[in-house]
Amino acid sequence: MASNKIRIRAKMKGAVAEIKSLMSHPMETGLRKDKKTGKKIPAHYITEVTCTHKGKTVLVANWGPAISKNPYLSFEFKGAAKGDKINISWVDNKGEKASADATIG
């Protein structure tokens, strides 16, 4: 089973689509020291998360290293319906990317 980089729960809550997501990422601040070598572990964190629905951008999150490891993100938006697809993608400071789709239940 491939490691799931982005887990999404998308549900209609009345007229609003409630999105909850959990992303797999070390979110290293660059301030932590490796206990063995004493050297600083380089900063490695998600810088931008984008959620789209029907081709429209619903949310853009600009993140810094102060977001916790394996980040959780929840938000809500109107104008969606059960069965609609959404996409959540992220890019980090090293240029790595991940993307996942989910259907609103």
């Binding site: 810088t47 984008t50 951008t57 619903v58 999150a61 600009n62 810094g64 916790s68 959780y72 929840s74």
Partner: protein, 153 residues
């Protein structure tokens, strides 16, 4: 002679093409580059200037912060910021972190003023939520006590 005219014509044509596509490419929600100056700022005012070009914030009861009074683990502090105003942007700043700006959200037209995430706090500090609505900045503040700091190192 003919070649020069031909090349000149081609260049003009392609430049028009670039201009047209640039115009067409302007998305409704402009995806700005990652706000480096804001995230790199060591103080709240610097972060706000970098984000919104202003430090003029007004305390508002309509900017709500849901967060623990005491964070057991500074590495994972759950925060929810919300507002009933029509928000274009919401940001979270942690005053005593090395770089106060932790995150900033740009909301779409139909997106609710509600964001929930988890942040790292180095020590007991004020958490400031800033909401941009109608061209103005509104804020709320909450002190969160941290027993075990979350910045590591």
């Amino acid at each position: 002679m003919k070649r020069r005219t031909f090349l000149k014509g081609t260049l003009t044509g392609s430049m028009l093409g670039v201009a047209a596509s640039a115009g067409l490419l302007a998305p409704r929600m402009v995806l700005a580059a990652w706000p480096k100056a804001a995230f790199g700022s060591k103080d709240v005012n610097g972060a706000l200037t970098g984000l919104y070009n202003s430090t003029d914030t007004k305390m508002s009861n309509d900017v709500k912060i849901k967060a623990p009074d005491i964070a057991e683990n500074g590495a994972v502090v759950p925060i929810t910021i919300s507002t009933s105003m029509k928000a274009d942007s919401m940001s979270i700043l942690i005053t005593k972190n090395p770089n106060p700006l932790s995150c900033s959200y740009t909301l779409g037209d139909t997106t609710e003023g509600f964001v929930s995430c988890r942040v790292k706090m180095g020590k007991t500090s004020d958490l400031i939520a800033v909401v941009k609505s109608g061209g103005k900045l509104y804020s709320a503040k909450k002190t969160i006590k941290v027993t075990i700091g979350g910045c590591g190192g």
